[in-house]
């Protein structure tokens, strides 16, 4: 277990360092960041002044080490656009995105698992086919367009829900449905496949043979084993959704991480962008590390291989 732990930690640290380099270089790939920031009709002297003010005149590796050193101690610098500390922008945006991700995942799991179970139990019937149509549709629908359609239907025609902003829970209804739809297909397919496999296994036949009611066989015996992969997938999904809700946040005017990232890209606000990318990556790395360790704890085959 110790060597497994050390191995995983080493990989996690390597990946974190690489990701930080990539996050750092994203907007710098454009070439002269100082000239971009100074504006189109800036003189040489002005560009040089901007470069000096933001420390852009130093060699790249010095800039990186300076940024990384500060980042480790929690100082992520200031936004070029608003002069706010990046840390405050992050902590202001995370709750919104986390709320959206948790709501959407709850709804997604709440729909995907029952759908998957029903599809597996009634395999190759019309019920299974309907579930498959939901899965294919959810995979194929353009997320941003679905969001617009929700606004059109529930916000404008039916006038049931607010369509932009984040003041109340009601504001989260449409974004939650929009994000949840994208997470359903994969979980449904995995639940269905897992259930079909488990339902054919010997211990389920034994359970049936000793006369247990079908309900208890499906929910108590089969489901427990079949949804294990869904649980770890949901964890990884959470990490993915932190950066994956850019479009939905933009459409519904939610002030979350994705929206901040998008704003930072448009404004060339590199301190904010590199911090958002680094932050999301680190959360993802931590989540997968935890998921790996839990799996290894539960399943000796993984840590011994």
């Amino acid at each position: 277990m110790i060597s497994f732990l050390v191995n995983r930690l080493f990989i996690a640290i390597m990946v974190t360092v690489t990701v930080s380099v990539i996050a750092f270089s994203l907007l710098r790939l454009s070439g002269d960041l100082a000239a971009e920031l100074a504006g189109d009709d800036a003189t040489e002297a002005e560009i040089a002044a901007v470069a000096k003010a933001y420390g852009l005149d130093r060699p790249l590796y010095v800039q990186y080490l300076d940024w990384a050193g500060h980042a480790v101690s929690g100082d992520l610098g200031q936004s070029i656009f608003s002069n706010e500390p990046v840390w405050e922008i992050l902590t202001g945006a995370v709750p919104t995105t986390a709320k959206l991700a948790v709501l959407a995942l709850s709804l997604g799991v709440g729909l995907a698992i029952p759908l998957g179970i029903v599809a597996a139990v009634f395999q190759n019937t019309w019920i299974d086919r309907c579930a498959l149509i939901v899965a294919v549709g959810g995979q194929a629908v353009p997320n941003f367009w679905f969001g617009l359609m929700m606004i059109l239907l529930f916000g404008v025609i039916l006038r049931w829900t607010p369509i932009s902003g984040q003041e109340t829970m009601a504001h989260f209804i449409l974004p939650t449905i929009t994000v949840a739809l994208t997470t359903i297909p994969q979980k449904m397919r995995i639940t269905r496949a897992g259930m079909i496999e488990v339902l054919q296994s010997d211990y389920i036949r034994t359970a049936k043979a000793k006369g247990l009611p079908t309900r208890s066989v499906i929910f108590k015996h089969a489901l427990r084993n079949a949804i294990l992969p869904v649980v770890s997938l949901t964890m990884v999904n959470f990490g993915f959704l932190l950066g994956g809700t850019v479009v939905v946040e933009t459409i519904f005017a939610l002030n979350g991480l994705g929206f901040e990232a998008f704003q930072a890209i448009i404004r060339q606000d590199f301190p904010v962008l590199q911090s958002v990318v680094l932050f999301i990556s680190v959360i993802y790395i931590l989540l997968t590390l935890v998921a790996d360790l839990i799996n290894a704890r539960l399943d000796p085959r993984i840590r011994l291989s």
Binding site: G137, A140, P142, L152
Partner: protein
């Protein structure tokens, strides 16, 4: 008892021999269908695959022959004919079956031209990603050890990055040209091939026919390209179709956010972005291109599921 058999055969009359031969043919000489023929049979009876293929074919033809199929030039503006409703709405005309946009451009023509960007990106980016991802995945899976550790490190790094944010930044930095979009989407998509093909290659590697090939002294290149690659092709194609739908949707997303191919070039994402300002009183500007995207993506997914059923029905669940 060969000599006796020969004697019996010579003793038979010619007619009896012919009858015996025909009889044998009925029983044993049935030609077993080749794998290719089996797949063709399965494809013929797979309605999802056929429907998906036909829709993709139609969109493909629209994309290739757009200048000849589209009734108008998609760039021609006519301010006197702006925001005409599609044929099912009030005050519509057959001159513009799907209406016109805010600049008076024919919407059907813009939709047909928009298929070009979607199809090119949907085919080239996943294909390029397939080459890169497969190479990386098979290298890790075949060689193992340090090479595999490095491949896993590459995959882990890619997975940890917030894909959409990185994609948006790269497109913002390098501009939204077709070439940049294809490169960036290739970067976004290679990892799924690598993950799946690494595992599949590991499984195939340990089978007897690979050991046999190694034993008779085949080169590594020969084993990887000649023995392993043909066995992982169907996995590759299934991922390819998944990524194809995804690439089309992400291209539309980038256009929608204003970072993709720039207006006035018609792309389905641009159409939705431009129509968004008029969405509340002219909803068709947003619904029509969105439905086009949805139908194409569903068709590709149906084709993908079909390919999997046809090439490897045992892996259906």
């Amino acid at each position: 008892m060969a000599p006796n058999d020969t004697a019996a055969a010579t003793a038979m009359t010619a007619g009896a021999a012919r009858r015996a031969k025909n009889h044998r043919a009925d029983l044993f000489d049935v030609r077993t269908p080749t794998p290719y023929e089996i797949m063709r049979q399965r494809a013929k009876h797979h309605s999802g695959f056929l429907i998906g293929m036909s829709i993709i074919l139609v969109v493909g033809i629209c994309a290739i022959f757009a200048p000849w199929i589209a009734p108008y030039n998609p760039f021609d503006q006519d301010i006197s004919r702006r925001l005409i409703n599609p044929i099912w709405g009030p005050n519509s005309t057959w001159d513009n079956p799907l209406g016109t946009d805010a600049f008076g451009r024919d919407y059907l023509s813009r939709l047909i031209w928009g298929a070009r960007v979607s199809m090119v990106i949907g085919i080239v980016a996943p294909a390029a990603a397939a080459v890169i991802g497969t190479t990386i995945g098979m290298t890790g899976g075949y060689f193992g050890g340090r090479a595999d550790a490095f491949v896993m490190y590459l995959i882990n790094t890619k997975l940890a990055l917030p894909g959409l944010v990185v994609t948006l930044s790269l497109v913002a930095v390098f501009g939204g040209s077709m070439f940049v979009l294809i490169c960036v989407l290739t970067f976004l998509f290679w990892d799924r091939y690598a993950i799946v093909l690494r595992t599949v290659t590991q499984q195939i590697r340990s089978q007897d026919f690979i050991t046999a090939a190694e034993a008779i002294g085949c080169s590594r290149t020969r084993i990887i390209l000649g023995e392993i690659l043909p066995n992982v092709l169907n996995q590759m194609i299934v991922i390819l179709t998944l990524e194809m739908a995804l690439a089309i949707l992400i291209e539309a997303t980038l256009s929608f956010l204003g970072l993709g191919i720039q207006p006035p070039t018609p792309t389905w994402g641009n159409l939705i972005a431009e129509g968004r300002n008029f969405m509340f009183f002219k909803p068709y500007l947003v619904t029509i291109p969105g439905l086009a995207l949805l139908v194409l993506a569903i068709a590709i997914n149906m084709m993908g599921d079909g390919v999997r059923d046809i090439t490897a029905p045992e892996g259906r669940n």
